[in-house]
């Protein structure tokens, strides 16, 4: 078991180090997210107060587009030079490889999201610093959901034709409940309401989604990662 966690840590570190050195997908995802933010500002010419009602929805749409870009690299990164086959054939347990890659994608997506948040606040005049703790909790929970499902599908689609199209086609419908919960929770927080009472339901949804899909992915990944 500790061998597995050590492997997961090693893989996460390798992925993060590769990505942070080249910053390929980080740059792509972050700039794509900013561009989408700008596009949406043209799409919805709303008054400032009306904007709070769709703030959560907008933010999570942007985050999910960036997320798809980041998880796409997850297992595809191992394709050149047969690295994927070597990884699978090695002693590393499947769940450890998956966990390492999921954690790396999670951290990368978090970086992109926290870059976008001030830009979002700037363009749309939204205060996001009140109840920052709750906002971070929501972002962390929902990002984990996106990355765990995304990394699982990255493994599933690694040998599929037109992978860059198939991964989003699979990913987006699957994470809709998660996005609904995240959008709802974020709108509530950005509008200044407290995260209590009825609003806790969306947090529950996020947690349930994360637990179910983390368990499913960890359990099923061994069937995906075969040579």
């Amino acid at each position: 078991m500790t061998h597995g966690f050590r492997t997961a840590y090693a893989i996460a570190r390798k992925d993060l180090r590769t990505e942070l050195r080249t910053k390929e997908s980080l740059n792509a995802a972050a700039s794509f997210a900013v561009v989408i933010l700008v596009l949406f500002s043209f799409a919805f010419p709303l008054e400032r107060d009306e904007f709070y009602a769709i703030s959560g929805g907008l933010l999570w749409l942007v985050y999910s587009f960036a997320g798809a870009l980041i998880v796409n690299r997850g297992f595809a990164r191992e394709l050149p030079n047969d690295c994927l086959d070597v990884l699978i054939a090695s002693r590393a347990p499947g769940w450890a490889i998956f966990l390492g890659k999921a954690v790396a994608a999670f951290l990368l997506l978090l970086i992109v999201e926290f870059i976008c948040l001030p830009v979002f606040g700037l363009f749309y005049n939204i205060r996001w610093t009140d109840s920052f703790g709750s906002l971070v909790l929501v972002i962390v929970l929902a990002t984990w959901g996106i990355t765990v499902v995304g990394t699982a599908f990255s493994a599933v689609t690694v040998n599929v034709r037109v992978r860059e199209l198939m991964l989003p086609v699979l990913l987006y419908p699957m994470i809709i409940p998660l996005l609904i919960g995240a959008m709802e929770a974020t709108t509530v927080l950005l509008s200044g309401e407290a995260m209590a009472g009825d609003n806790l339901y969306s947090l529950q949804l996020l947690v349930v989604f994360d637990v179910i899909y983390t368990a499913l992915a960890l359990y099923l990944i061994d069937y995906v990662l075969v040579v």
């Binding site: 499902v149 699982a152 599933v156 689609t157 040998n159 599929v160 034709r161 037109v162 198939m166 086609v169 699979l170 419908p173 699957m174 809709i176 409940p177 998660l178 609904i180 919960g181 709802e184 709108t187 509530v188 009825d198 609003n199 339901y201 969306s202 949804l205 349930v208 989604f209 179910i212 899909y213 499913l216 099923l220 069937y223 995906v224 075969v226």
Partner: protein, 226 residues
């Protein structure tokens, strides 16, 4: 043998359907408020229920495939999912027409309709990705995993749409489920039976095609190898 079973099921299903249509139109009193349109329920709801049954069967056979690696399970999975997706489309379209008639809108984002749309979208993604996988074993394995993930998503979608502030600007119309008078139970049951028979016939047909396709693939490999 299997072909005979398929045709028999199909013919039986068609017969039940026709007799049921007769009952629906001639033998039943009207709903006080809705007039004739109420009778759409006898195909609208059974389509959903039969589809759900097939999705559940697909889940079971997906798990069985992963456990036993027998390709028959994969064939049953894809057959069930195709037929069930078609039935969900029937459910969506008939529901939309009913809605246009009763509430004046072709679509509304209420709990039931949105869940149905989500099921359709989820399993369409399965049907779109599956042909893109070339190698047969991988195709079957990945399809099984996608099917399992998709099935787990449906209750979560249900949970998500019940969030307090989501979709409250639209009314949540009741389609009369669970509130039908006893006289409607027989046609409803017959409608279910009819769709179940027709659906099973289609699944068997599709299953037969999957097996033929697999034989084609193996023959091709044999020809190339020699």
């Amino acid at each position: 043998m299997r072909e005979k079973a398929t045709y028999l099921l199909g013919a039986l299903g068609a017969l039940v359907m026709i007799s049921n249509l007769h009952t629906i139109f001639v033998g039943l009193p009207d709903d006080a408020l809705q007039g004739m349109i109420f009778r759409i329920i006898f195909i609208h709801v059974p389509a959903d229920l039969v589809a759900d049954l097939f999705f559940t069967i697909a889940l079971v056979t997906s798990v069985l495939f992963l456990a036993r690696k027998n390709f028959i399970y994969d064939s049953i999975t894809v057959a069930c999912i195709e037929v069930a997706t078609m039935l969900i489309l029937v459910n969506l379209v008939t529901g939309s027409i009913w809605g246009r008639n009763q509430w004046g809108v072709w679509w509304t984002w209420d709990l039931r309709l949105t869940t149905q749309l989500m099921k359709f979208v989820l399993y369409m993604s399965y049907l779109v990705v599956r042909p893109a996988i070339a190698e047969p074993t991988q195709k079957a394995t990945m399809s099984a995993i996608i099917a399992i993930f998709a099935y787990a998503d449906v209750p979560l979608v249900w949970m998500a749409i019940r969030l307090p502030n989501v979709r409250t600007n639209h009314p949540s119309p009741v389609m009369g489920n669970g509130k039908m008078a006893a006289v409607y139970n027989a046609p409803f049951g017959m409608g279910m039976l009819a769709l179940l028979l027709i659906g099973s016939a289609l699944v068997l047909l599709r299953l037969h095609q999957e097996t033929s396709q697999r034989e084609i693939d193996s023959l091709r490999r044999e020809l190339h190898a020699a």
